[in-house]
């Protein structure tokens, strides 16, 4: 599968796909998208990278073991629910902040966003774990 064309184009494509997946993740609250879909896009990007250039560069690029990434995402999602306890509301209640970073520019931050980032990490981590483990030569 590692033809010259694929090897040349895939690193670029992977980068684009991951960026796009992050856009999908962040835009997901208002436009089609979200953590789950974004995670699938990023996972297929890494899987493709692995097929074209071998597993080792993917592992190097990810730095952490993908299953650790997934576990961290799980933790993040769970913690986003715990935060609501400090406000005295039930587990996983959505909380919003609108800090103004410049005059008139508000950045909406929320626990659902944190939760969605966790979902993204779990999906990416778990699927990349499976894909890379399968791609690895025995």
């Amino acid at each position: 599968m590692n033809t010259l064309i694929l090897r040349t184009i895939v690193p670029l494509l992977t980068g684009l796909m991951v960026i796009y997946s992050i856009v999908v993740l962040l835009a997901g609250h208002n436009e089609p998208g979200g953590g789950f879909i974004g995670g699938l896009i990023a996972a297929s990007a890494f899987a493709l990278y692995g097929i074209a250039c071998g597993v080792a560069p993917v592992r190097r690029a990810l730095y952490f073991h993908p299953i650790s990434i997934a576990a961290f995402g799980m933790l993040l999602s769970a913690l986003s629910g715990v935060i609501s306890y400090y406000k005295g509301v039930p587990f996983l209640t959505g909380l919003w902040w609108f800090p103004e970073i410049a005059k008139g520019v508000e950045v909406p931050l929320s626990t659902p966003l944190m939760f969605d980032i966790g979902v993204w990490l779990v999906v990416v981590g778990s699927l990349v774990t499976i894909a890379l483990a399968l791609e690895e030569k025995e």
Binding site: S77, F115, L127, A131
Partner: protein, 789 residues
């Protein structure tokens, strides 16, 4: 506030390993401050409780189900809390001395403190479910402590046995609690206790009774569930002294006392409890007399004492409860002290076999004193608290009919045998001629003798100097709490000559005889038990053996290890689930009107159908997989055309990834390129596949033809942007409205990832082995080459 007090030991448990790492075994002096502080805080409740008040506090947990972190402090729970914390204080110090320099001391103290918290939570819980949670926590911490020496087979077995017996009992008890909660309409004990009549007169009373008894009898080691307790002596002595004599094993008795106003004083109660208690008392004492290991002797007398307590609660009535309450308190003092004494002797002299020790009094004077004081209380001799307790028991038994007198005889025999054991433990190792023990013996350090000395002296002081104080602050409130009514206690060391005193004298006489003729009794009991040759301990092994055999049988039947069987079973069952209800209820969907389609819509459908046909008739597997992808993409396109961009988006990605992953799996499995199946199996698989397809299709048509309740959709579209700040309803549902579902789903995703990784690695192991052997042979070969050159 009580909730926070209960949490304190758990926090200290987190701190314990760090402290031990920093300052070694001296950490236990600091950690003992935790129970000390808690004692101080719980003392604040004493005046109120002495006046007969009940302190209630509640934090909501799952309010909708009536489950709360609610706590109740009355005479019963307060006295238990004092026993747990007071004895715990000395045990923590003792543990530091006993396991000084042990590598895992930090872990040990941590679990010990966690147990303390669990036990404390158990006794002060007001909610039955909270009580159950703490109950199981004590089982788990007990498991960890019994198996502390985890490299020894015996201690692992003992730990597992204790966990299985008490854990199973606890689960059965939970069923009982659920029933009580349903019948009584609440899980709060404080409310249930006043509804005793409702529960006792309910048709399911006997079921509730037996379910709760299962929990109490397993935890409090009643025959035939007692065998885990002597085996639990594999644990280090601080554990035996604390969990398996003074506190945890009394949880069962605590439960009986707690539920007494609710379940007690019925015919069933007054038949079953004396029966089990009596048998346990006799068997426990017989086994205690027979044994040579002092720790085991004490363990069996603990079994016997628990039997006696159950027996007394079974007799019922205010006086019997008074006897049980006093005996329970007295027992915690003297048994805790004696266990620690035996531990100290074991620690310093290197053995705890009673026939290998003699004349230690000169070498270990303080320990000998503690042993003597504790044993006198256990023998029930004046002026110790043990004497007062036994007098109360006899008093209640002599003021009744034939039933009570029969029980009195059982109690006398049991007490006399226990007298013999207590005397043996206090006299034989310490008095008599000096025998050289395995180790050069000397008095234990202060950490080791502090606990037993204080506890045994408490047994004396309580009876002689503090009887009135204890009576008003602890004994009376506890008896009142158990009996559920006002009871006046009138305790004195000297009541004058009455039937109870005469029974006491008989007991002492018999006890001395037992002590003198211990050797003969031992031989006799040995003969009897050898004749029987079977016990619950063996039974437990047989039970486990049967269980694993049965599990293996089922597993072999269900898990053939063939993917094809799994798939067939799964899809066959799916087809049944889909089609049987439709046949049975005769609900078939109407054929929908064929809609007008635009050209491109027709195009997509054609691609879809061609994709499916290609999957079925493809010659190689790879083509089939890719065709499956084409079919999936067409579905995604349909989603897109009919206004579900999110769904379509996801469908595209899922299809892409599944084609990639299935292709990767297939290349690893090294299957044949083509799928060759016999016609028969092709036919079977085809029929199953078609049935599932038809079933799914008709189900979907049924669903779309049924009237749709739009309330949820309306709710989501109204509030999605308004309160959840998102215009994409699907995403808002996923991450906000129904985030807990998503949390569950990503957990499944994560677990799938972990298990796939594990499975793929398992597959890789033999390959790696052959690789390394090849590599090593290569290296060997190259070395051989070098040599020849």
């Amino acid at each position: 506030m009580i909730g926070y007090l209960v949490l304190t030991p758990f926090l200290a448990a987190l701190l314990a390993p760090v402290l031990v790492f920093l300052i070694g075994h001296r950490a236990s002096w600091i950690l003992a401050l935790v129970p000390g502080y808690l004692l101080y805080r719980f003392y604040e409740f004493v005046p109120a409780v002495a006046k007969g008040e009940t302190v209630l506090q509640s934090h909501e947990w799952m309010g909708g189900f009536g489950i709360n972190y609610s706590f109740m402090i009355d005479g019963l729970s307060l006295t238990f809390a004092f026993l747990i914390l007071g004895i715990g204080f000395f045990i923590v110090i003792y543990a530091g001395g006993y396991l000084k320099g042990h590598q895992k001391l930090g872990r040990f103290l941590a679990v010990l403190l966690a147990f303390m918290g669990s036990m404390l939570g158990l006794v002060v819980s007001d909610n039955l479910i909270t009580l159950f949670v703490f109950w199981e926590l004590t089982s788990i911490t007990s498991f960890l402590l019994i198996g502390f020496d985890n490299e020894r087979e015996a201690s692992r077995r003992a730990a597992l046995q204790a966990l299985i017996i008490t854990g199973l009992g606890g689960l059965v008890m939970l069923a009982g609690f659920a029933l009580i909660g349903l019948v009584g309409g609440t899980f709060e004990l404080s409310e249930l206790l006043s509804k005793g009549e409702v529960i006792k007169e309910h048709g399911l009373y006997s079921l509730m009774f037996w379910l709760v008894m299962a929990g109490a009898f397993t935890k409090s080691a009643q025959f035939p569930f007692h065998s885990w307790l002597p085996n639990a002596m594999e644990a280090p002595t601080p554990v035996s002294a604390y969990l398996h004599s003074a506190t945890m094993v009394k949880a069962g008795v605590f439960l009986l006392m707690r539920t007494y106003p609710m379940l007690g004083e019925t015919e069933l109660w007054e038949t079953v409890l004396p029966l089990f208690g009596g048998i346990t008392l006799l068997i426990g004492t017989v086994l205690a007399v027979r044994d040579k290991d002092m720790k085991l002797m004490l363990a069996y007398t603990t079994v016997a004492s628990l039997g006696l307590l159950v027996l007394m609660l079974g007799v019922g009535g205010a006086r019997a409860i008074e006897g049980a309450v006093l005996y329970l308190i007295a027992h915690s003092f003297f048994k805790g002290a004696l266990f620690m004494v035996v531990g100290t002797v074991d620690h310093e002299a290197g053995t705890r076999q009673i026939d290998k020790l003699s004349g230690l009094r000169s070498a270990m004077p303080i320990t000998a004193l503690a042993a003597a004081l504790a044993a006198l209380s256990m023998c029930g001799l004046p002026p110790f608290i043990g004497f007062i307790a036994k007098e109360s028991i006899y008093y209640s038994l002599t003021h009744g009919g034939l039933h009570e007198w029969t029980i009195a005889i059982v109690a006398i025999v049991g007490n006399a045998l226990m007298f013999g054991v207590a005397a043996s433990i206090a006299i034989r190792p310490f008095m008599g001629k000096w025998i050289d023990p395995p180790k050069a013996v000397h008095e234990g350090p202060v950490m080791l003798f502090l606990g037993p000395l204080v506890l045994s002296i408490t047994g004396l002081v309580t009876a002689v100097f503090a009887l009135n104080f204890m009576q008003t602050n602890f004994f009376s409130p506890m008896v009142n709490a158990v009996a559920g009514s006002e009871v006046k206690l009138d305790l004195h060391l000297w009541h004058g000559i009455n039937p109870a005193l005469i029974l006491s004298v008989i007991t002492v006489g018999l006890g001395i005889a037992v002590f003198v003729f211990t050797a003969n009794l031992k031989k006799f009991f040995d003969k009897v038990l050898n004749f029987i040759g079977w016990g619950p301990d063996k039974g437990f092994d047989q039970f486990i053996c049967c269980l694993t055999w049965f599990a293996a049988l089922i597993t072999r039947f269900l898990q053939t290890g063939q993917m094809r069987t799994y798939m067939r079973v799964t899809f066959f069952v799916t087809a049944l689930i889909l089609l049987v209800p439709m046949f049975k209820l005769n609900i078939w969907p109407k054929m929908p009107n064929f809609p007008e389609l635009r050209l491109w819509e027709i195009g997509v459908f054609v691609i879809l159908v061609v994709g499916i046909i290609q999957v079925v008739f493809a010659r190689t597997r790879l083509t089939a997989i890719i065709s499956l992808g084409i079919q999936g993409f067409s579905v995604a396109l349909i989603f897109m055309m009919f206004g579900a961009p999110d769904l379509s988006f996801t469908q595209f990605m899922v299809e892409t990834l599944s084609v990639v992953i299935i292709a990767l799996v297939l290349t690893r499995l090294k299957l044949m390129k083509q799928d060759r199946r016999s016609t028969a199996s092709l036919l079977f698989d085809g029929v199953v596949a078609l049935s599932v397809g038809v079933g799914m299709g008709t189900l979907l048509m049924n669903i779309t033809q049924a009237p749709i309740d739009l309330r949820l959709s309306e709710f989501f579209s109204t509030y999605s942007a308004a309160i959840a700040h998102g215009r994409n309803i699907v995403n808002v549902i996923l991450v906000d409205f129904r985030a807990i579902d998503t949390l569950g789903e990503i957990t499944v995703v994560l677990i799938t990832g972990v298990s796939a990784l594990a499975l793929i690695r398992v597959k890789a192991v033999p390959d790696r082995k052959t690789k390394t052997s090849q590599a090593s042979s290569k290296i060997a070969g190259s070395e051989a080459l070098k040599e020849t050159s």
